[in-house]
Protein backbone atom coordinates (compact mmCIF):
# COMPACT_ATOMS: atom_id res chain seq x y z
CA UNK A 1 0.00 0.00 0.00
CA UNK A 2 1.03 3.59 -0.54
CA UNK A 3 -0.46 6.89 0.53
CA UNK A 4 -1.84 9.20 -2.13
CA UNK A 5 -2.92 12.59 -0.86
CA UNK A 6 -3.05 11.23 2.71
CA UNK A 7 -5.33 8.31 1.76
CA UNK A 8 -4.37 4.63 1.50
CA UNK A 9 -4.05 3.43 -2.08
CA UNK A 10 -3.08 0.19 -3.79
CA UNK A 11 0.50 -0.30 -4.97
CA UNK A 12 1.84 -2.71 -7.57
CA UNK A 13 5.38 -3.81 -8.45
CA UNK A 14 7.02 -1.44 -10.91
CA UNK A 15 4.40 1.29 -10.54
CA UNK A 16 5.58 4.64 -11.90
CA UNK A 17 4.28 8.13 -11.15
CA UNK A 18 2.67 8.17 -14.58
CA UNK A 19 0.93 4.84 -13.89
CA UNK A 20 -0.51 6.32 -10.71
CA UNK A 21 -1.67 9.50 -12.46
CA UNK A 22 -3.32 7.38 -15.17
CA UNK A 23 -4.99 5.10 -12.63
CA UNK A 24 -6.37 8.04 -10.65
CA UNK A 25 -7.29 9.86 -13.86
CA UNK A 26 -5.35 12.93 -12.73
CA UNK A 27 -5.07 14.74 -16.06
CA UNK A 28 -5.06 18.39 -14.95
CA UNK A 29 -2.31 20.41 -16.63
CA UNK A 30 -1.00 22.22 -13.56
CA UNK A 31 -0.16 19.33 -11.32
CA UNK A 32 2.67 18.89 -8.81
CA UNK A 33 3.86 15.45 -7.72
CA UNK A 34 5.96 14.83 -4.64
CA UNK A 35 7.08 11.39 -3.50
CA UNK A 36 8.16 11.33 0.15
CA UNK A 37 8.43 15.11 -0.06
CA UNK A 38 10.73 15.11 -3.10
CA UNK A 39 9.46 16.91 -6.20
CA UNK A 40 9.22 14.74 -9.33
CA UNK A 41 9.34 16.87 -12.51
CA UNK A 42 6.90 16.01 -15.33
CA UNK A 43 9.65 14.65 -17.60
CA UNK A 44 10.41 12.05 -14.90
CA UNK A 45 6.82 10.86 -14.36
CA UNK A 46 7.12 7.94 -16.79
CA UNK A 47 10.40 6.68 -15.32
CA UNK A 48 10.12 7.44 -11.61
CA UNK A 49 9.18 4.30 -9.70
CA UNK A 50 7.02 4.40 -6.60
CA UNK A 51 7.96 1.98 -3.82
CA UNK A 52 5.67 0.17 -1.44
CA UNK A 53 4.91 2.43 1.53
CA UNK A 54 5.74 5.68 -0.27
CA UNK A 55 3.89 8.86 0.55
CA UNK A 56 2.72 10.53 -2.67
CA UNK A 57 1.20 14.01 -2.90
CA UNK A 58 -0.46 15.00 -6.14
CA UNK A 59 -1.44 18.64 -5.87
CA UNK A 60 -3.74 20.21 -8.46
CA UNK A 61 -2.96 23.91 -8.66
CA UNK A 62 -6.49 25.11 -9.08
CA UNK A 63 -7.75 27.84 -6.83
CA UNK A 64 -10.98 28.83 -8.59
CA UNK A 65 -12.27 32.22 -9.69
Amino acid sequence: MIKVNTKESNWSEGMTVQDLLDEKQFVFKHIIVRVNGVYVPPEMHAAFQINDGDNVMVVHLMAGG
Partner: protein
Protein backbone atom coordinates in the same frame (compact mmCIF):
# COMPACT_ATOMS: atom_id res chain seq x y z
CA UNK B 1 -5.18 37.12 -19.54
CA UNK B 2 -8.66 37.41 -20.95
CA UNK B 3 -11.82 37.08 -18.90
CA UNK B 4 -14.15 37.94 -21.78
CA UNK B 5 -15.81 35.06 -23.58
CA UNK B 6 -18.09 36.43 -26.24
CA UNK B 7 -20.55 35.04 -28.76
CA UNK B 8 -20.72 37.44 -31.73
CA UNK B 9 -23.54 37.89 -34.28
CA UNK B 10 -25.98 36.11 -32.00
CA UNK B 11 -29.57 36.46 -33.24
CA UNK B 12 -32.18 36.91 -30.49
CA UNK B 13 -35.53 35.17 -30.83
CA UNK B 14 -37.58 36.74 -28.00
CA UNK B 15 -38.11 39.95 -26.07
CA UNK B 16 -37.72 43.59 -27.05
CA UNK B 17 -34.62 42.92 -29.17
CA UNK B 18 -36.03 39.90 -31.06
CA UNK B 19 -34.55 39.62 -34.53
CA UNK B 20 -31.47 41.71 -33.73
CA UNK B 21 -27.94 40.34 -33.81
CA UNK B 22 -25.99 41.06 -30.65
CA UNK B 23 -22.76 40.18 -28.86
CA UNK B 24 -23.29 38.10 -25.73
CA UNK B 25 -20.68 38.39 -23.00
CA UNK B 26 -20.78 34.76 -22.00
CA UNK B 27 -21.73 32.14 -21.16
CA UNK B 28 -19.29 31.92 -18.30
CA UNK B 29 -19.37 28.58 -16.49
CA UNK B 30 -21.78 29.67 -13.77
CA UNK B 31 -24.11 30.87 -16.53
CA UNK B 32 -23.95 27.60 -18.43
CA UNK B 33 -24.55 25.56 -15.28
CA UNK B 34 -27.26 27.79 -13.82
CA UNK B 35 -29.21 28.68 -16.94
CA UNK B 36 -28.55 25.31 -18.55
CA UNK B 37 -28.22 22.08 -16.60
CA UNK B 38 -29.85 23.34 -13.39
CA UNK B 39 -32.98 24.28 -15.35
CA UNK B 40 -32.86 21.13 -17.46
CA UNK B 41 -32.11 23.29 -20.51
CA UNK B 42 -29.52 21.91 -22.91
CA UNK B 43 -30.16 24.21 -25.89
CA UNK B 44 -27.19 26.60 -26.39
CA UNK B 45 -29.44 29.18 -28.09
CA UNK B 46 -31.72 29.35 -25.05
CA UNK B 47 -28.79 29.53 -22.61
CA UNK B 48 -27.19 32.40 -24.53
CA UNK B 49 -30.49 34.25 -24.90
CA UNK B 50 -31.18 34.03 -21.15
CA UNK B 51 -27.58 35.13 -20.52
CA UNK B 52 -28.05 38.18 -22.79
CA UNK B 53 -31.29 39.27 -21.19
CA UNK B 54 -30.00 38.80 -17.63
CA UNK B 55 -27.14 41.15 -18.51
CA UNK B 56 -29.38 43.56 -20.41
CA UNK B 57 -32.05 43.75 -17.72
CA UNK B 58 -29.49 43.94 -14.90
CA UNK B 59 -30.68 40.71 -13.30
CA UNK B 60 -28.10 38.76 -11.30
CA UNK B 61 -27.68 35.61 -13.31
CA UNK B 62 -26.83 33.22 -10.48
CA UNK B 63 -29.71 34.43 -8.32
CA UNK B 64 -32.06 34.17 -11.30
CA UNK B 65 -30.96 30.67 -12.25
CA UNK B 66 -31.03 29.28 -8.71
CA UNK B 67 -34.41 30.90 -8.04
CA UNK B 68 -35.98 29.54 -11.24
CA UNK B 69 -34.58 26.07 -10.55
CA UNK B 70 -36.24 26.27 -7.12
CA UNK B 71 -39.56 27.36 -8.66
CA UNK B 72 -39.39 24.58 -11.24
CA UNK B 73 -38.73 21.98 -8.57
CA UNK B 74 -41.56 23.28 -6.39
CA UNK B 75 -43.87 23.08 -9.43
CA UNK B 76 -42.80 19.59 -10.46
CA UNK B 77 -43.13 18.34 -6.87
CA UNK B 78 -46.68 19.71 -6.71
CA UNK B 79 -45.93 22.42 -4.16
CA UNK B 80 -47.27 25.19 -6.41
CA UNK B 81 -49.50 25.09 -9.48
CA UNK B 82 -49.34 26.55 -12.98
CA UNK B 83 -52.09 28.95 -11.92
CA UNK B 84 -49.89 30.18 -9.03
CA UNK B 85 -47.27 31.11 -11.65
CA UNK B 86 -49.71 33.19 -13.69
CA UNK B 87 -50.14 30.38 -16.22
CA UNK B 88 -46.46 29.85 -16.98
CA UNK B 89 -45.56 26.18 -17.41
CA UNK B 90 -42.25 26.43 -15.57
CA UNK B 91 -41.22 22.80 -15.72
CA UNK B 92 -37.60 21.71 -16.09
CA UNK B 93 -36.42 22.17 -19.66
CA UNK B 94 -39.00 24.76 -20.70
CA UNK B 95 -36.65 27.49 -21.89
CA UNK B 96 -39.45 29.55 -23.44
CA UNK B 97 -41.25 29.74 -20.09
CA UNK B 98 -38.03 30.83 -18.42
CA UNK B 99 -37.46 33.55 -21.02
CA UNK B 100 -41.05 34.76 -20.70
CA UNK B 101 -40.61 34.87 -16.90
CA UNK B 102 -37.46 36.96 -17.36
CA UNK B 103 -39.28 39.42 -19.63
CA UNK B 104 -42.15 39.62 -17.13
CA UNK B 105 -39.61 40.27 -14.38
CA UNK B 106 -38.12 43.16 -16.33
CA UNK B 107 -41.55 44.70 -16.96
CA UNK B 108 -42.78 44.09 -13.41
CA UNK B 109 -45.72 42.10 -14.75
CA UNK B 110 -47.37 38.75 -14.05
CA UNK B 111 -45.34 36.23 -12.05
CA UNK B 112 -42.11 38.14 -12.76
CA UNK B 113 -41.97 40.39 -9.70
CA UNK B 114 -42.99 37.49 -7.45
CA UNK B 115 -40.17 35.27 -8.77
CA UNK B 116 -37.91 38.30 -8.44
CA UNK B 117 -38.28 38.15 -4.65
CA UNK B 118 -35.71 35.35 -4.63
CA UNK B 119 -35.62 31.99 -2.86
CA UNK B 120 -35.74 33.21 0.75
CA UNK B 121 -38.97 35.18 0.36
CA UNK B 122 -40.49 32.66 -2.07
CA UNK B 123 -40.14 29.88 0.50
CA UNK B 124 -42.23 31.89 2.97
CA UNK B 125 -44.73 32.92 0.30
CA UNK B 126 -45.24 29.40 -1.08
CA UNK B 127 -45.78 28.01 2.42
CA UNK B 128 -48.12 30.73 3.63
CA UNK B 129 -50.09 31.32 0.43
CA UNK B 130 -50.12 27.93 -1.29
CA UNK B 131 -49.68 25.54 1.64
CA UNK B 132 -46.34 24.17 0.43
CA UNK B 133 -44.34 21.79 2.66
CA UNK B 134 -42.13 24.10 4.76
CA UNK B 135 -39.56 21.44 5.62
CA UNK B 136 -39.11 20.38 2.00
CA UNK B 137 -38.77 23.97 0.85
CA UNK B 138 -36.19 24.75 3.52
CA UNK B 139 -34.22 21.66 2.45
CA UNK B 140 -34.24 22.40 -1.29
CA UNK B 141 -34.27 26.22 -1.24
CA UNK B 142 -30.65 27.05 -2.01
CA UNK B 143 -30.13 30.30 -0.14
CA UNK B 144 -28.19 31.44 2.89
CA UNK B 145 -28.58 34.92 4.40
CA UNK B 146 -31.00 35.67 1.56
CA UNK B 147 -28.48 35.13 -1.23
CA UNK B 148 -28.90 32.30 -3.72
CA UNK B 149 -26.09 29.71 -3.94
CA UNK B 150 -23.82 29.61 -6.97
CA UNK B 151 -23.75 26.48 -9.03
CA UNK B 152 -21.04 24.13 -7.75
CA UNK B 153 -22.23 20.71 -6.60
CA UNK B 154 -20.51 21.17 -3.26
CA UNK B 155 -22.45 18.81 -1.00
CA UNK B 156 -19.64 16.27 -1.34
CA UNK B 157 -17.05 18.75 -0.02
CA UNK B 158 -17.39 19.64 3.66
CA UNK B 159 -14.87 22.48 3.31
CA UNK B 160 -16.83 24.04 0.46
CA UNK B 161 -20.06 23.69 2.43
CA UNK B 162 -18.38 25.96 4.97
CA UNK B 163 -16.93 28.08 2.17
CA UNK B 164 -20.45 28.96 1.13
CA UNK B 165 -22.38 29.12 4.40
CA UNK B 166 -19.80 30.38 6.92
CA UNK B 167 -19.50 33.72 5.17
CA UNK B 168 -20.55 37.29 5.81
CA UNK B 169 -22.04 37.99 2.41
CA UNK B 170 -23.79 34.72 1.66
CA UNK B 171 -22.92 31.70 -0.47
CA UNK B 172 -20.43 32.72 -3.14
CA UNK B 173 -17.05 31.27 -4.03
CA UNK B 174 -15.25 34.59 -4.08
CA UNK B 175 -14.03 33.92 -0.53
CA UNK B 176 -13.13 30.27 -0.44
CA UNK B 177 -13.03 27.89 -3.38
CA UNK B 178 -11.79 24.77 -1.68
CA UNK B 179 -13.31 21.88 -3.63
CA UNK B 180 -10.05 20.77 -5.23
CA UNK B 181 -7.98 21.19 -2.07
CA UNK B 182 -10.58 19.27 -0.11
CA UNK B 183 -11.84 16.53 -2.42
CA UNK B 184 -9.13 15.91 -5.01
CA UNK B 185 -5.87 16.90 -3.36
CA UNK B 186 -7.17 15.93 0.10
CA UNK B 187 -4.80 18.54 1.50
CA UNK B 188 -7.11 19.58 4.33
CA UNK B 189 -8.33 16.30 5.88
CA UNK B 190 -8.97 17.39 9.48
CA UNK B 191 -11.43 19.89 10.90
CA UNK B 192 -8.47 22.04 11.95
CA UNK B 193 -7.05 21.95 8.41
CA UNK B 194 -10.37 22.95 6.94
CA UNK B 195 -10.81 25.66 9.57
CA UNK B 196 -7.41 27.11 8.69
CA UNK B 197 -8.30 27.12 4.98
CA UNK B 198 -11.61 28.76 5.85
CA UNK B 199 -9.65 31.40 7.72
CA UNK B 200 -6.73 32.02 5.36
CA UNK B 201 -8.39 31.99 1.95
CA UNK B 202 -11.37 34.23 2.81
CA UNK B 203 -8.93 36.70 4.37
CA UNK B 204 -6.52 36.60 1.44
CA UNK B 205 -9.30 36.92 -1.11
CA UNK B 206 -11.03 39.71 0.85
CA UNK B 207 -7.82 41.71 0.53
CA UNK B 208 -8.25 41.96 -3.25
CA UNK B 209 -11.57 43.67 -2.68
CA UNK B 210 -10.05 46.04 -0.12
CA UNK B 211 -7.37 47.15 -2.54
CA UNK B 212 -9.36 47.05 -5.76
CA UNK B 213 -7.08 44.44 -7.34
CA UNK B 214 -8.02 41.50 -9.53
CA UNK B 215 -7.30 38.13 -7.94
CA UNK B 216 -6.96 36.21 -11.18
CA UNK B 217 -3.23 36.91 -11.64
CA UNK B 218 -2.81 35.19 -8.25
CA UNK B 219 -4.56 31.95 -9.14
CA UNK B 220 -4.41 31.79 -12.93
CA UNK B 221 -0.71 32.49 -13.50
CA UNK B 222 1.72 30.01 -11.98
CA UNK B 223 5.34 31.08 -11.37
CA UNK B 224 7.84 28.68 -12.94
CA UNK B 225 9.29 27.62 -9.59
CA UNK B 226 6.02 27.49 -7.65
CA UNK B 227 6.24 23.71 -7.38
CA UNK B 228 9.40 24.05 -5.29
CA UNK B 229 7.70 26.07 -2.56
CA UNK B 230 6.28 24.57 0.63
CA UNK B 231 2.81 25.99 0.06
CA UNK B 232 2.18 25.93 -3.71
CA UNK B 233 -1.60 26.34 -3.27
CA UNK B 234 -0.98 29.78 -1.77
CA UNK B 235 1.36 30.77 -4.65
CA UNK B 236 3.86 32.47 -2.27
CA UNK B 237 5.65 34.47 -4.99
CA UNK B 238 2.40 36.19 -5.93
CA UNK B 239 1.57 36.86 -2.28
CA UNK B 240 4.93 38.64 -1.97
CA UNK B 241 4.26 40.49 -5.24
CA UNK B 242 1.04 41.87 -3.78
CA UNK B 243 2.85 42.87 -0.57
CA UNK B 244 5.50 44.66 -2.68
CA UNK B 245 2.89 46.44 -4.82
CA UNK B 246 1.03 47.59 -1.69
CA UNK B 247 4.23 48.90 -0.11
CA UNK B 248 5.35 50.62 -3.32
CA UNK B 249 2.03 52.40 -3.82
CA UNK B 250 1.36 53.41 -0.19
CA UNK B 251 4.89 53.92 1.12
CA UNK B 252 4.04 51.62 4.03
CA UNK B 253 5.97 48.53 5.02
CA UNK B 254 3.67 45.59 5.54
CA UNK B 255 4.41 41.87 5.31
CA UNK B 256 2.22 38.92 4.31
CA UNK B 257 0.88 38.53 7.86
CA UNK B 258 -0.19 42.16 8.03
CA UNK B 259 -1.91 41.68 4.66
CA UNK B 260 -4.10 39.01 6.27
CA UNK B 261 -4.70 41.18 9.34
CA UNK B 262 -5.92 44.04 7.15
CA UNK B 263 -8.63 41.74 5.84
CA UNK B 264 -9.35 40.32 9.26
CA UNK B 265 -10.12 43.78 10.61
CA UNK B 266 -12.63 44.37 7.85
CA UNK B 267 -14.07 40.86 8.00
CA UNK B 268 -14.73 41.12 11.72
CA UNK B 269 -16.18 44.60 11.30
CA UNK B 270 -18.53 43.14 8.68
CA UNK B 271 -19.44 40.28 11.01
CA UNK B 272 -20.39 42.65 13.79
CA UNK B 273 -22.30 44.80 11.30
CA UNK B 274 -24.27 41.69 10.29
CA UNK B 275 -24.98 40.93 13.94
CA UNK B 276 -26.22 44.44 14.45
CA UNK B 277 -28.55 43.94 11.48
CA UNK B 278 -29.83 40.65 12.93
CA UNK B 279 -28.01 38.26 10.59
CA UNK B 280 -24.57 37.45 11.95
CA UNK B 281 -25.03 34.56 14.38
CA UNK B 282 -24.67 30.80 14.10
CA UNK B 283 -28.31 30.31 13.16
CA UNK B 284 -27.72 32.52 10.11
CA UNK B 285 -24.75 30.42 9.01
CA UNK B 286 -26.96 27.34 8.77
CA UNK B 287 -27.05 25.69 5.35
CA UNK B 288 -30.06 24.20 3.55
CA UNK B 289 -29.72 20.43 3.67
CA UNK B 290 -29.31 20.12 -0.08
CA UNK B 291 -26.03 21.96 0.44
CA UNK B 292 -24.89 19.18 2.79
CA UNK B 293 -26.37 15.98 1.39
CA UNK B 294 -29.06 14.21 -0.61
CA UNK B 295 -32.57 15.46 0.26
CA UNK B 296 -34.71 13.21 -1.91
CA UNK B 297 -34.77 9.54 -2.79
CA UNK B 298 -33.79 10.37 -6.37
CA UNK B 299 -30.76 12.28 -5.14
CA UNK B 300 -29.64 9.40 -2.95
CA UNK B 301 -30.21 6.81 -5.65
CA UNK B 302 -28.35 8.89 -8.23
CA UNK B 303 -25.14 8.32 -6.22
CA UNK B 304 -26.19 5.27 -4.24
CA UNK B 305 -22.86 3.49 -4.49
CA UNK B 306 -21.02 6.50 -3.09
CA UNK B 307 -23.48 7.06 -0.24
CA UNK B 308 -23.72 3.36 0.66
CA UNK B 309 -19.93 3.18 0.80
CA UNK B 310 -19.86 6.18 3.12
CA UNK B 311 -22.40 4.52 5.43
CA UNK B 312 -20.08 1.54 5.65
CA UNK B 313 -16.75 3.34 5.92
CA UNK B 314 -17.68 6.44 7.90
CA UNK B 315 -20.44 5.14 10.15
CA UNK B 316 -19.87 1.37 10.29
CA UNK B 317 -23.42 0.67 9.08
CA UNK B 318 -24.57 -2.07 6.74
CA UNK B 319 -26.63 -0.47 3.94
CA UNK B 320 -27.80 -3.92 2.82
CA UNK B 321 -29.82 -4.15 6.02
CA UNK B 322 -31.34 -0.66 5.74
CA UNK B 323 -34.32 0.76 3.88
CA UNK B 324 -33.76 3.73 1.57
CA UNK B 325 -35.43 6.06 4.07
CA UNK B 326 -33.16 4.75 6.84
CA UNK B 327 -30.08 5.31 4.68
CA UNK B 328 -31.15 8.85 3.82
CA UNK B 329 -31.82 9.59 7.51
CA UNK B 330 -28.50 8.14 8.69
CA UNK B 331 -26.60 10.09 6.02
CA UNK B 332 -28.36 13.26 7.07
CA UNK B 333 -27.64 12.83 10.76
CA UNK B 334 -23.96 12.22 10.03
CA UNK B 335 -23.53 15.08 7.57
CA UNK B 336 -25.36 17.63 9.67
CA UNK B 337 -23.14 16.67 12.60
CA UNK B 338 -20.03 17.09 10.43
CA UNK B 339 -21.17 20.56 9.43
CA UNK B 340 -21.73 21.53 13.06
CA UNK B 341 -18.25 20.28 14.01
CA UNK B 342 -16.78 22.23 11.10
CA UNK B 343 -18.62 25.34 12.25
CA UNK B 344 -17.17 24.90 15.77
CA UNK B 345 -13.64 24.63 14.35
CA UNK B 346 -14.01 27.60 12.01
CA UNK B 347 -15.40 29.87 14.72
CA UNK B 348 -12.56 28.88 17.04
CA UNK B 349 -9.95 29.63 14.37
CA UNK B 350 -11.54 32.98 13.57
CA UNK B 351 -11.58 34.02 17.25
CA UNK B 352 -15.37 33.87 17.55
CA UNK B 353 -17.62 32.39 20.23
CA UNK B 354 -19.55 29.19 19.60
CA UNK B 355 -22.45 31.37 18.50
CA UNK B 356 -20.32 33.12 15.89
CA UNK B 357 -19.68 36.37 17.80
CA UNK B 358 -16.19 37.90 17.56
CA UNK B 359 -14.62 37.79 21.03
CA UNK B 360 -13.52 41.15 22.51
CA UNK B 361 -10.00 39.82 23.10
CA UNK B 362 -9.77 38.82 19.44
CA UNK B 363 -11.01 42.23 18.32
CA UNK B 364 -8.34 43.77 20.56
CA UNK B 365 -5.61 41.55 19.09
CA UNK B 366 -6.34 42.84 15.58
CA UNK B 367 -6.79 46.45 16.66
CA UNK B 368 -10.56 46.44 16.28
CA UNK B 369 -11.71 46.78 19.89
CA UNK B 370 -13.68 49.85 18.93
CA UNK B 371 -16.48 50.96 21.30
CA UNK B 372 -18.98 50.78 18.44
CA UNK B 373 -18.17 47.07 17.99
CA UNK B 374 -17.77 46.14 21.65
CA UNK B 375 -21.18 47.53 22.52
CA UNK B 376 -22.68 45.03 20.04
CA UNK B 377 -20.68 41.91 20.96
CA UNK B 378 -20.35 42.20 24.75
CA UNK B 379 -24.06 41.69 25.54
CA UNK B 380 -23.92 38.47 23.46
CA UNK B 381 -21.11 36.80 25.40
Amino acid sequence: MSCAKTADHFKLLTGPYAGQCVTVDGPEYECAAGLGANLGIFDPQAILEQNFYCDTYGIDLISYATTVAFIMECYERGQISQKDMGGLDLRFGNSQASLELMHQMSRGEGFGPIAGLGVKKLKKLFVEKYGADEKLLNDIGMENKGLEYSEYLHKESLAQQGGFALTNKGPQHDEAWLIFMDMVNNQIPTFEDKAYALFYYPMFRTWFGLCGLCKLPWNDIVPADNHLTNTPAKVPEHVQNYVDIFNAVTGKSIDKDELIRQSERVYNFQRVFNIRMGKGLREHDAAPYRSLGPVTKEEYLSRQERYDTQLRELQGLDPEQMTLDEKIAATRTYRERQFELLTDSVYKRRGWTNDGVPKPEHLKSIGMDLPILLEIVEPLL
